[in-house]
C-alpha cells in the first residue's frame, strides 16, 4: 500500500510541476518538487524504495524535457545514494539539517544541469545561469517542508 502511495505522490508531484501556476513562479523559475521528493524519500523510507522512487522521478522528469539524454534519471539516483551514505554518517533528525541537505543537493543538481547545458553548446547569459542556480534552489528548499510532511504521512 505504501508503495502505491509513493507512486501516486510521484504522479501528483510531476503533474503539479508540469502545470505549476504562472503566478507562483518567482523570476520565471519553479521549484523542483520531484528532486525534493527523491531526496526526502531517503529520510523516511528504506533505501531500496527511495532509490526506486528516485529512478521513477528522474524518468518522469526526463520524459517531459526536450533533452534526449536521461540525465535526471542518473542524477536523481546518484543523489539518492549520496544522501543515503551521508545519513549513515550524520544525524538527520533535525528538520533544519534535512532542509540544508535538500538545498545543497538542489544547488549541486542545478550546477550540473547548467554545466551540461553549457557543454552542449548552449549560450546562457550569466544572469540567467545564476537565477536558475540560486533562486531555483532556494525555491526548491522553500517548498521542501511541505514534501517532508507528505513523506512523513506516507511512511506513518
Amino acid at each position: 500500500m505504501r508503495n502505491f502511495f509513493i507512486f501516486f505522490s510521484l504522479i501528483i508531484l510531476a503533474t503539479l510541476q508540469l502545470s505549476w501556476p504562472e503566478g507562483l513562479r518567482f523570476f520565471h523559475v519553479k521549484p523542483d518538487l520531484l528532486l525534493v521528493f527523491t531526496v526526502s524519500a531517503v529520510f523516511y523510507f528504506d533505501f531500496k524504495v527511495a532509490l526506486a522512487a528516485a529512478v521513477l522521478a528522474g524518468l518522469l522528469k526526463d520524459t517531459f524535457l526536450p533533452a534526449e539524454q536521461a540525465i535526471n534519471t542518473v542524477l536523481f539516483s546518484i543523489w539518492s545514494y549520496a544522501v543515503f551514505r551521508l545519513c549513515r554518517q550524520i544525524s538527520i533528525e533535525n528538520n533544519y539539517i534535512r532542509l540544508a541537505i535538500i538545498l545543497i543537493v538542489a544547488v549541486l543538481n542545478n550546477i550540473i544541469l547548467g554545466i551540461h547545458s553549457l557543454n552542449s553548446g548552449n549560450v546562457i547569459p550569466a544572469g540567467i545561469f545564476l537565477r536558475n542556480l540560486i533562486i531555483s534552489s532556494l525555491y526548491t528548499g522553500a517548498v521542501a517542508p511541505l514534501i517532508f510532511k507528505l513523506n512523513k504521512k506516507i511512511s506513518a
Binding site: I11, A14, T15, Q17, L18, S19, W20, P21, E22, H28, V29, K30, D32, L34, L51, V55, G58, L59, L60, K61, D62, T63, F64, L65, P66, A67, E68, Q69, A70, N72, T73, V74, S77, I78, Y81, A82, R85, L86, Q89, N110, L113, G114, S117, S120, G121, N122, V123, I124, P125, G127, I128, R131, N132, S136
Partner: protein, 257 residues
C-alpha cells in the same frame, strides 16, 4: 566517508545504464507516460482557466471593454487591408508570380510546461493522430513560438524559440540582413553573427528567412530592442523581444506543410 565497494559501484552503473536504456531505447515508455499525464494536465488547465476567470473577474471586465474597442478598430483596419489584399492579388497575377500553397494549421492548447528551468518547452494536446510530426513549426496569432521536437499519439513536445538549443535562421525585414536567432532562457532572444556594418537598428522587425528548413519564410519572430558588439569585436548581435509572449502561451497553431 564515501568509500564505495566494487559491488556498489557495479550495481550503480548497471542501474544507471538500465534507466538510460529504458529512456533512450523506448519511445513506448515516453509515449505511455505522456498519454497517462494528458487527462489530468488537461483537467488542471481547465480548472486554472475557470478559477482565473472568477478570481480576475474585474480585470477581465476592464480588459473585455478595451478589447471590444480594439476589435472595432481592427475590424475597420481589416476592411482596409482586404482592399489592399485584393489589389495585391491582382498585381501578383499581373506579374505572374507563383502562388505558394497555403499552409494547413492545426490549433492546439498548451497543457504543460517544461518541468525545469534549464530548458524552455511546452506540451500541447495534439499529436500524431492529428497529423503533427517532429520538426513542424509552431506559431500563434502574435508570431513564431517554436518547433515540434517529439510527437506522441495524442500530445506533442514543442521546443520554444527562447530555448538556448534552438536556432532560427532569420532576416531583418527592412535591410534583409541575415543572422541566427537563438534563445537564452530569458524573455528576450539574441540575433547573432551580424556583420559589423550590418544595417540593423532598434525597432527593426525580424522575420524567418528562407534558409531555414524548419520554418516557413516570413514568420514574425520579434522586434530589435538593442544592439551590441560581440566580445571578439568581429560581429554584432541584436537583442530581440519576441512577438509572442512565450511565458504565457495558451493556444498555438502547428503548421502542417
Amino acid at each position: 566517508m564515501f568509500k564505495l565497494s566494487r559491488k556498489t559501484i557495479t550495481s550503480f552503473i548497471l542501474l544507471a545504464c538500465a534507466a538510460f536504456l529504458i529512456y533512450s531505447l523506448s519511445p513506448f515508455f515516453r509515449n505511455s507516460a505522456q498519454k497517462t499525464f494528458k487527462p489530468q494536465l488537461t483537467l488542471i488547465d481547465l480548472l486554472k482557466r475557470e478559477f482565473g476567470g472568477i478570481i480576475f473577474y474585474h480585470r477581465n471586465m476592464i480588459d473585455s471593454g478595451r478589447l471590444k474597442y480594439e476589435a472595432q478598430n481592427l475590424r475597420r483596419r481589416l476592411f482596409d487591408l482586404r482592399e489592399v489584399e485584393q489589389e495585391n492579388k491582382r498585381l501578383k497575377n499581373l506579374l505572374s508570380f507563383k502562388q505558394k500553397s497555403p499552409f494547413r494549421l492545426v490549433a492546439s492548447r498548451v497543457i504543460a510546461r517544461s518541468p525545469d528551468s534549464w530548458s524552455s518547452s511546452v506540451i500541447i494536446d495534439k499529436g500524431r493522430y492529428n497529423g503533427i510530426r517532429r520538426g513542424m513549426a509552431v506559431i500563434n496569432a502574435q508570431g513564431l513560438i517554436g518547433r515540434v521536437i517529439e510527437s506522441a499519439e495524442g500530445s506533442s513536445k514543442v521546443l520554444l524559440i527562447n530555448d538556448p538549443s534552438q536556432g532560427v535562421s532569420s532576416i531583418v525585414q527592412s535591410s534583409r540582413q541575415e543572422g541566427l536567432v537563438s534563445g537564452s532562457l530569458g524573455s528576450n532572444l539574441i540575433m547573432r553573427y551580424l556583420p559589423i556594418d550590418a544595417q540593423v537598428s532598434v525597432g527593426d522587425i525580424i522575420i524567418t528567412s528562407e534558409l531555414s528548413r524548419v520554418y516557413p519564410k516570413g514568420l514574425l519572430v520579434g522586434k530589435v530592442i538593442s544592439i551590441g558588439k560581440e566580445f571578439s569585436g568581429l560581429s554584432r548581435y541584436a537583442v530581440i523581444r519576441p512577438a509572442a509572449n512565450l511565458s504565457s502561451i495558451e493556444e498555438v497553431l502547428v503548421i502542417i506543410p
